[in-house]
């Protein structure tokens, strides 16, 4: 029995490898990046299976779907907001169905550790009408991923694995089993199911609807869903999903009453088991990471006559933020212990900040100075390390919404009368979702200035490769139709401050589209190179 130490993300990746994975695709994003990092490390340079970073999540999802159609086992992984980007192929893949096992890993970020929202991927699985598996532990992350590939092929549907930050980014020993043989031959050919013309789509959707009963039957018999009846005449029932169950499990031995409990690891969830629990108790506490997904189903509109239902919707558990041992203990009536206090001592916060010597800092200083004197300017920005430019000392940017939005919003802003209208976007975010809005701006020759911070890497998530950096990025911009006279490259260094400020100021004054590339290598990458 071999035990190895794995991050939650890595347990999923190894589960996939041991399922005979043929191809993995991803775009970096916390807390999901380590799934692909692990796949790449174990792939023997791609000889064992395909493991690739993709230009964005939609592309990654579609590449995985293409591999699945070819009869291969494929997995795509991303953070929860990445699923928004991949939503179109994800929803439609449920209609076409999968051929080779197709597993979609979506890692939610309750508590906003490194994200702009705490959306709950279980709603997407429900929306697409596919099966979603939610591990409660590292062991289950490994085991359920292996199960997911088999289920995907059994039902002919994509299967989602839902992770949360605290599982994705914690480590524990995992018992691994013998790997399945990789015997997935290419299945050439095609199916009319994959061409979603209305007539085919109607037919396929009926198939998907009929499969729902089978998914429910699976949930009812799935051993990862566990019902335990009440002990000692307890009239309390606990419903806990995924990692929430682990917090409950830790506290359970400390309870002097023995509540009934239902552990949920699949969606659809086991309705019959849930009804059995409800039948035995007067009070139900629902504990889940993320939105009150199961709780809403249980409550419905009218509640359950004679039963008290507690959870996120009545404030027993906070509606936002991640679960903690204290929150779960408190919901079960246990008082939390108190630790030492630092009394009146004022502890200053230490927020994340740009590294010392970071090129973005120099660009922000030049931009701030160039904008001096304009009173109707907006700086729309994007997602990456440079989002920290919103904080002191720079206070240089004013928006962060979603990948690529800076360019589109700068165009909308300019057309609404904002001047200067500036977009600030990193090289990888630009190729992820900035190319298409820039084409829009080229077409209209919008009076706006786009600054591309080209540090040559996806810095914030751990230096994954960038698809459009250096000279190829310049050619991409010329190819899109950016006017060469207003395509400038600056080197953001303190010694170039006056020069750079002047160039930015000139382009802000130009009434048409300008693109300025601020090009200097990420200081972290440079440091790593020097050390090795």
């Amino acid at each position: 029995m071999e035990k190895i130490i794995l991050l939650g993300d890595e347990a999923v990746a190894l589960g996939a490898i041991h399922s005979g994975l043929n191809a993995g695709y991803s775009y970096p994003g916390t807390p999901a990046s380590e799934v692909m990092e692990f796949l790449i490390r174990q792939s023997d340079g791609g000889r064992k299976y395909v493991a690739k970073w993709c230009v964005n999540e939609k592309v990654a999802m579609e590449e995985a779907l293409g591999a699945s159609y070819a009869g291969q086992r494929a997995m795509v992984s991303f953070k929860h907001v990445g699923l928004n980007v991949a939503a179109d192929p994800f929803i439609n893949a449920a209609v076409t169905g999968a051929n080779g096992g197709l597993v979609v890993v979506s890692a939610d970020d309750p508590g906003f550790h490194s994200s702009q929202n705490e959306q709950d991927s279980r709603y997407y699985a429900d929306f697409a009408r596919v099966l979603c598996l939610e591990p409660a532990s590292h062991q289950e992350a490994y085991d359920l991923t292996r199960e997911a590939f088999d289920l995907s092929e059994k039902f002919g549907l994509p299967v989602m694995i839902r992770l949360v930050t605290r599982l994705a980014h914690s480590r524990a020993p995992v018992v691994i089993r013998e790997a399945a043989k990789k015997n997935r031959d290419l299945k050439y050919g095609y199916s009319p199911d994959w061409t979603l013309l209305p007539a085919n789509a109607r037919h396929r959707y009926q198939v998907l609807l009929k499969l729902q009963e089978q998914l429910k039957d699976y949930a009812e018999g799935c051993l990862f869903n566990r019902f335990s009846p009440a002990q000692n005449g307890s009239r309390l029932g606990v419903v806990a999903t995924g990692l929430a169950f682990s917090y409950f499990q830790e506290i359970y031995p400390r309870l002097d009453f023995g509540p009934a409990f239902l552990k949920i690891s699949t969606y659809p969830f086991p309705e019959k088991k849930l009804l059995e629990l409800i039948d035995q108790v007067d009070e139900i506490i629902v504990i889940e990471e993320g939105y009150p997904f199961v709780e809403r189903f249980i409550r419905g509109v009218a509640g359950i006559p004679g039963k008290i239902i507690k959870g996120k919707m009545d404030g027993t558990i906070p509606a936002s933020g991640e679960l903690t041992p204290e929150i779960v203990a408190g919901a079960l009536g246990l008082s939390a212990k108190t630790g030492l206090s630092t009394g009146n001592f004022q502890l200053p916060a230490r927020p994340p900040q740009l590294c010392s010597g970071c090129p973005h800092g120099d660009t922000f200083q030049a931009l701030n100075e160039a904008l001096h004197g304009y009173d109707r300017a907006n700086v729309f920005s994007d997602i990456g390390c440079y989002t920290l430019g919103a904080l002191p000392p720079y206070k240089a940017i004013q928006t962060c919404v979603c990948m690529g939005a800076s360019v589109s919003m700068a165009k909308g802003g300019a057309e609404a009368g904002v001047y200067p209208s500036v977009a600030v976007i990193g090289d990888s975010t630009f190729t992820h979702s900035g190319l298409t809005p820039l084409l829009d701006a080229v077409y209209s020759n919008t009076d706006m200035t786009v600054i591309i911070l080209d540090n040559g890497t996806v810095a914030m998530t751990g230096a994954q490769p960038s698809f459009g950096t250096g000279e190829p990025l310049d050619r991409m911009l010329v190819g899109l139709g950016v006017n060469k006279d207003h395509l400038k490259v600056i080197n953001p260094l303190p010694k170039n401050h006056q020069l750079n400020t002047g160039i930015i100021r000139e382009e802000l004054a130009y009434h048409g589209l300008s693109v300025i590339i601020a090009r200097r290598e990420c200081i972290q990458i440079l440091g790593d190179k020097k050390r090795s």
Binding site: S114, T324, K337, G339, L388
Partner: protein
């Protein structure tokens, strides 16, 4: 037996390297463990922490409840204070003395030392001096680990084995620097108590 420890510091100070050594040592000794960590944006020069739980029996919660940490191990003094509410009434604090000042409102360091000493058991290690003596300022994390190792329910040779494993790709010199840093930290703690 469950032993809960909080690892603290600033992004880039090598908290995850400490976690790696303890995790591997725990596995080698047949213990269960769970270790949470921080990735992504928060790593950029901000406060970082890891919850690490070791146990002879199976454990489930990846987070340590307030008031239940046996030890705070911090590579930075202000960061040691940040997690005081997690410490048991008889908990131990092992911290580096050297401040990492990257915020404008960093308090006077003597005030921080005074607060840390309010813990029932505390040790402020001269991690910068000892790391330099071992051969590299970057080894401060291993000095603090060495000092904390006196308290952790793990064997000395296992710490050392996995320090070697951790740094082996960087060559013998780096391995020896880090082993020496660990030793100096351990001696400092033994001399103190």
């Amino acid at each position: 037996m469950t032993y809960n420890l909080i690892l603290a510091g600033v992004g880039g100070q090598g908290i995850l390297s400490i976690a790696f050594v303890i995790d591997q040592a725990a596995l080698a000794e047949g213990l269960y463990f769970l270790q949470s960590e921080v990735h992504g944006m928060s790593q950029r020069g901000g406060a970082v922490q890891a919850h690490l739980r070791l146990s002879e029996t199976e454990i489930h919660s990846p987070l340590i409840p307030q008031g239940e940490a046996d030890l705070i191990l911090s590579v930075e003094p202000l960061e040691a204070l940040r997690y005081f509410s997690y410490l048991k009434p008889d908990g131990v604090v092992i911290s580096s003395r050297s401040p990492y000042i990257n915020i404008p409102d960093y308090p006077p360091v003597e005030d921080i030392y005074r607060e840390i000493k309010r813990a029932p058991v505390s040790l402020l290690v001269e991690a910068d001096k000892l790391a330099k003596e071992a051969g590299s300022l970057r080894a401060e994390n291993m000095v603090v680990l060495g000092a904390a190792s006196v308290y952790l329910p793990l064997r000395e040779e296992n710490f050392k084995n996995f320090i070697s494993v951790l740094f082996q790709t960087k060559g013998d010199k780096v391995v020896n620097t880090n082993l020496k840093a660990f030793d100096l930290g351990r001696q400092a703690a033994k001399g103190e108590f």
